[in-house]
Assembly symmetry: C2
Homo-oligomer: 360 residues x 2
Amino acid sequence: MNLRIPGPVPLPDEVLELVGSQMIDHRGPEFAVMLDRMTRNLKAILATAADAFFLTSSGTGAMEAGVVNTLSPGDRVLSISIGVFGDRYGLIAEAYGAEVTRLKYALGQAADPDDVRRILRDAPGCAAVVLTHSESSTGVANPLEAIARAVHDESDALILVDAVSSAAAIPIATDAWGIDVVATAAQKAWVAPPGIAMISFSDRAWKAYEAAKMPRFYFDVAQYRQYLQIGQPPFTPCLPAIYALDHSMQAIVDEGIEAAFARHHERAEQARDGVAALGLELLPERSVASDTVTAVKVPQGIDGRELVRRVREEHGVVLGGGQQALAGRIFRIGHMGWVERHHIDGALRAVAKTLAAMRS
Amino acid sequence: MNLRIPGPVPLPDEVLELVGSQMIDHRGPEFAVMLDRMTRNLKAILATAADAFFLTSSGTGAMEAGVVNTLSPGDRVLSISIGVFGDRYGLIAEAYGAEVTRLKYALGQAADPDDVRRILRDAPGCAAVVLTHSESSTGVANPLEAIARAVHDESDALILVDAVSSAAAIPIATDAWGIDVVATAAQKAWVAPPGIAMISFSDRAWKAYEAAKMPRFYFDVAQYRQYLQIGQPPFTPCLPAIYALDHSMQAIVDEGIEAAFARHHERAEQARDGVAALGLELLPERSVASDTVTAVKVPQGIDGRELVRRVREEHGVVLGGGQQALAGRIFRIGHMGWVERHHIDGALRAVAKTLAAMRS
């Protein structure tokens, strides 16, 4: 199978071998050494000198951790959404009692920093801005640096970023851009299986933590900070993902994070060029297309669900379909983490052949 | 290494091989088949016809899910605690705003159903009773059936059970005893790696859900129920633990749950007999000792931390130490999941040799 969904990503053999390693004592010396190395590498990759933690959850758990550790019920939150995952961040804040203002864009568009600037100026007192960096439901990357600048220029709001499908693949200068919480997950560009999510947590976020009244226990970052001092997680961690992450994060650090970004950009360009060569259209403008997932419009007269099904069954290529409002209208090619040129070529060839068969 | 902590449990080769299997699409047909089979087996093993779900978290996440999906801030909760994990369930309820009454016992004791009966009679209106089944910090199993009877006799309270280190090893008749939420985790008697926790959710719990006002998103069971209808989890699941659980739960069902209980009892008896043969003393009375973990008093004049360290370094046997108030005062031998007679013998032999060396 050529697994080309936007995560979980396929894993190379040497990583799978580590995933299948025997269990160890997560409160023993071996784990402490691993956790120390992993924490240093995570902070290096996220370009932050602040805290960073590993949670046993999906990326959504890390997003929730960002919200519940920094906010109180009634706090005003600006939720910038360009798709399903942007919506989700607003829903999480709302579930915990935040007063959420929504800035929503048409599917396939990126957010405009000037809109953010205007909204924050017109309605001061926003406690946090939540947004998705790479919206994998539409294949769009938000201009995070410019949005962060707008937020800091116009407010004291915290910035909580769903970087689940962007971190380690698309540049994020966490400290330099003043991002307070970066939420991401092992099964994306980190080349590990699902089970572990990661968050960075800035000094400003810690200041907010002191006053934050949303309830929390499993995702309480103070517990993670306290246990980290003795080289342990507060709760039993997902060891298979830990083993893989330890290896894969070291590989990213050894390669150099800039090289990893360049590699992702190159594969994404290959995918976008290939889509154009097939006479197909991207959902977004190419200028805002994400380097981790390519969303392609299903041509007129073709059933998108059927296309994805046949590509899978007849060619062993697993594409992402469209979600919610885009169901049947787009297909998506994931290209984060371990991606060889032939993975992309193979996926595009399977799409071409299937479209030809469906049209004949 | 002979990993004899009370979880994560060591995994046999055939399970490790599955843990290291390639990633698949968790929204694809293959996963749906797996999730359906796993849900049926989970319900069979927990002896419930009600709902049961797989969460990507540690067991603590499943405990939190029980609380936040059934209760509202201000609800009165009786927390029965015989150790660290019993305390934790009360802390979770309190973190979310419940008014918690504590019934605490000395370390090494089991809870007395008559105390529960008296408290509930004296102070009516309790919304939920939370307790640990097998308290792995003290090696004690609570008389769950009798406690559940007392709760039902005296109140309408829900019963939320931390069965993290008991389910699939020590009998729990979820429906027959009227347990509303059973929380457990893959890395215990289920013979899988950490990363997935499981909960059962009774019809009474669903009724409570309708009125429950504690905030929740990642652990919202309604999302799990809704997605289960299309053969998916709401959030990306920990696939390595899923692969292992699917195999291991089928193995338990094929063996027969009664046989699995008997097997655990036999290994526990072996451990207890072995401890007695060494002239050592159990922390609890033998009659309430848990069948999944044996807690042993460190003899007078011996440094318990040093004992655990030397057993590990000199004999490759990883014991559990004492937690919190019991640090240095006890050591613990885990025997849940895949345990051969020689695993227990080897651990006891290592303890005997190390004690002899420390005394000489």
